[in-house]
Each structure stands twice: as C-alpha cells, then as structure tokens.
C-alpha cells in the first residue's frame, strides 16, 4: 500500500506499507524520523504524540492509511534549524529531561497546550493537558516548571510579536 502525506511541511511518499501498520512505525522506520518514541503501543504513555491535521494524537493508534493525504507534525519539526523552539528551550532550562524518552511526546503536547491556551495555563490545566504523557524519571515537577517557563516566555514575547506584525 502506498501512503502519501506531509510531515513537517515536507511531502513523503512511502511504498509497501502493511495496512495494519501504525503511523508511528511509518514515521520511525520508513521516514527516518525517530523523534516520536515507541513505547507502550496502546495509547497509554503519550511518547509518540504527534500532530495529525492540527490535533495531537498518539501516532501508535493511527493506522498508516488513515494518515494518507493528511498533515503530520512531529517533534523534529518544532525547532527552526539549530534554534530550539521555546518549549524545547524551557525543558532544557528547567532540567525537565532525565532519560529523555518521554520528552518528545511531552514537548509536542506542551506545544499544543501553549498554542491553544489563552493566557498562561494554570498548573491544573498543565497537568490535565499532560495527563496522557507518562514520565518514569522526573516525578513531573520539573516538567510542569518547564511548561510554566515556556508560557511565561511566550507571554513576554507576545507584545513584541504583535508590534512586529505587519
């Protein structure tokens, strides 16, 4: 089966896809994008969180053929070249990364929260948004702190961005 889709703004055409294959498998094993992690394969851990047509989903639960013609965004698409996305920057600064396995999924999900939140999210909102992303190292406190930092940075930058807008 052939699957054609856009990943991080780039068109991909993948052949010989088994119909029962997941989007996660296609991204990691066929598109050379191993940022989305393969852990539970049942939607429990959130390590494979990606954008599918603008909404975050567990890539392990999307059949490859369902992504045909759709727009996918992975953690690899967040940084601008060598410059990390502010959410990624905040995870580094806060020390929110230990083994790092859950980090890509958390970053995509946190990115979605901050893209769609009006104002700074409360701690309860952050915890709720990240409820489907498991971390077995950090105890979550530093992760929550990273999202707070990213939200603050965004609030700080927002007026500048508006001034710069044409």
């Amino acid at each position: 089966m052939r699957v054609r889709f856009t990943v991080n703004g780039q068109q991909h055409v993948v052949d010989d896809v088994w119909p029962g294959e997941s989007l996660l498998y296609v991204l990691r094993e066929r598109c050379g994008l191993p940022g989305s992690k393969n852990a539970c394969e049942q939607g429990e851990c959130g390590s494979c969180t990606v954008y599918l047509d603008g909404r975050t989903v567990c890539a392990c639960l999307v059949a490859a053929g369902q992504a045909d013609g759709r727009v996918v965004g992975t953690v690899e698409g967040l940084a601008a070249g060598e410059r990390l996305h502010p959410v990624q920057e905040a995870f580094v600064e806060a020390g929110a990364v230990q083994c790092g396995f859950c980090t890509p999924g958390l970053i995509v999900q946190a990115h979605d929260l901050l893209e769609n939140a009006s104002g700074s999210p409360t701690d309860a909102e952050i915890r709720e948004a990240l409820a489907g992303n498991l971390c077995r190292c950090t105890g979550y406190e530093k992760i929550i702190e990273a999202v707070r930092r990213a939200a603050e940075a965004r609030a700080h930058d927002a007026p500048t961005a508006e001034r710069e807008a044409p």
């Binding site: 997941s22 909404r55 053929g65 045909d68």
Partner: protein, 289 residues
Amino acid sequence: MDFLRPVTWAEALEVKAERPDARPIAGGTDLMVELNFGTTRPTALLDLTRIDELADWERAGERLRIGAGVSYARVVGELGDLLPGLAIAARTVGSPQIRNRGTIGGNLGSASPAGDAHPPLLASDATVEVESVRGVRVLPIDGFFRRPKVNALAPDELIRAVRVDRASGPQQFAKIGTRNAMVIAVCSFALALYPAGRRVGAGVGSAAPTPVRARAAEEFLSGALDWAGGGPVDEEVGRRFGALVAAAASPIDDVRGTAGYRRHALAVMARRTLAWAWHDYREAGTACA
C-alpha cells in the same frame, strides 16, 4: 490485509456489504492496540475517517443526531450544554490525545462493558442508528449491547449515529478509577432527570457483562422525589436508590476491582450523583421562580 477507504457513506455501506469481514476503524484507540499487539489480524480494515458526514452532529428542535465519527473532544467542547451527562463522561475518557481521536461510534462499536459513553446514553434514552445497503434500523440503546464486546450490529451494518434528546433536566456522571486520566472504569454511573415527565434515567457501566439500565432504581426514584416542592432528598430515599442501582449490576472480581467493591461504589456514586443533580434541579427551580 486490505485497507478500504470509502469517502462517502453510501460507498462505505456498499463496501461493508461486499466485505462483511472488514473491521471498521475510526479513532483506532481500541483496534490499533489489537493490531499492534498482534491479537487480531482482520482480513481488511474499513477506514471511516474520510466520511465527512459521520464526523458531525446536528440538532432539530429537541432531537440531536450525533454522527458516529464525532470525537470525545468535540462532545466536550460542543455538547456540554445540550448533553451534560455525555460531555462529563467524554471528559473522563483517556487523555487529550485519546479524546481527540476516539469517537462515540467507536465506543458503541467496541461495546466494551466499560465504555464511558454508554451509561449516559442509557440514562438519556438514546437510540443507535445503524445502516446497511438493506436499510436503516434505529435500535434502543439498552438492547444494543448483547455480550461483552458484542453489539446488535449485523455483519453488513455500520453505526451511523446516536439519536438522543437534548437534556431536559440535570444530568450527572461518575466513574471510579485509580487516577483521573487514562483509566478503564472500575465502575461508572450516569443519572438523568426528566422534570417534565417526573422521571429519572440511570445507567450503570463496567459492573455487568454489558452496560445496563437500573430500571427498578429509576422507577423507585421517579416516584420518591419531591418534584413539585423541590424539597430535599430524604436520606432513606438516597440509600434505597443506591441499593437498587447496586442490585441492577452483576459485577465480577477482576484486576480492576472486586464485585463487592463495585456494588458498594455504585451505591455511593448513585447517592452522590443524585445529590448533585437534585441540587441543580432545585437551583433551576429557584432561578425560574
């Protein structure tokens, strides 16, 4: 394995008639787990995510028709006022990623005894619209679930929509689990009040081979509430209601909890949801006076 991707409902019905063996897939939150773990190898997958009309809901007067492909996230975001019981239940499903993907139709299709949408749909007298090339059938939801993970669909049928009246009174839902997110219900309970008809609906989840209605509890409570005066619920009425809800279940001991715990928890949830819903009913009465 074939991957079948119809783009219209009519085409999907034709495909299902030709290939009754094809497993429908929408959000994939159940079926993809089976595929990933190799516990199922269907001869074909029938992808329903390209059929636009499935992914929408419509309202005609008091009647709502919710397409099978409407996600939990959309129920939470768009139906909170019209169907609070279902919206509260949808809000307890999985995680944001799962709610973005999982659908009401998928919940009915999987027909798990623990499906979170089932108790509120039972309490709200929903019907399930199913269709095949032979025609449409509209099935009352309490006959829809046959056995664990088996529903009333014929092999050539697909779930088109859920039909349900908008809430005419307070609705509540409660669910027991080990944490707030990502739990399969240990047991769950939904309550709907119908002030105009002076009756209640009560649905029990994850405490019997299928989701069930607590009919005796409904009848008892409908007659025991002070609808006209809006007076407080007698403690004995709450206790009796809880006991009748627990009696409607036929739970088992399993990894998530014991039968005894489930019965106890159902009685507690029934009393609590009644207290919340009756509070809302009295508030609404005060607001109108």
